[in-house]
Symmetry: C2
């Protein structure tokens, strides 16, 4: 849960998830959507990966990132428990 909350606690990372919801994208395509250096985006992608929110598949020279929302189920359950 910790890595999940941590990953979600950043505007850029949330925006990356919203992008990936529409299409799988490679790292460079993701970076092109932001005014942030590629290494920084790479770091954000790493945090999202650590939380299980994205998966990465090497495609030759490229790395394709996809969203994985299953890990959010635990978060939704936590919230629901709090709501009774």
């Amino acid at each position: 849960m910790n890595s999940l909350f941590k990953a979600l606690n950043d505007h850029t990372r949330r925006a990356i998830l919203e992008l990936l919801k529409e299409n799988d994208l490679n790292a460079g395509e993701i970076a092109n959507h932001f005014d942030i250096s590629k290494p920084s985006i790479s770091h954000h992608l790493d945090l999202l990966k650590q939380a299980g929110l994205v998966t990465a598949i090497k495609n030759g020279q490229y790395i394709t990132y996809s969203i994985n929302t299953i890990v959010m189920d635990e978060l939704v359950q936590w919230i629901m428990k709090l709501k009774d």
Copy 2:
């Protein structure tokens, strides 16, 4: 949304919410559940309040804190949108 994710991104603050789910508590009672100084707990309560996750009502010398889960609805909706 930012203050909400920020507030939730800390184990102590999440534990405070879980406590308040069971009972309203005053600041001292909350602090007694943790191995952290009262000023630190006060700071955590402030962040929770900023996010709208708790409300505080002065009760004489005491301040009673209550959970408010309504603000989490927006978070759940954001997650659901991401899930399609």
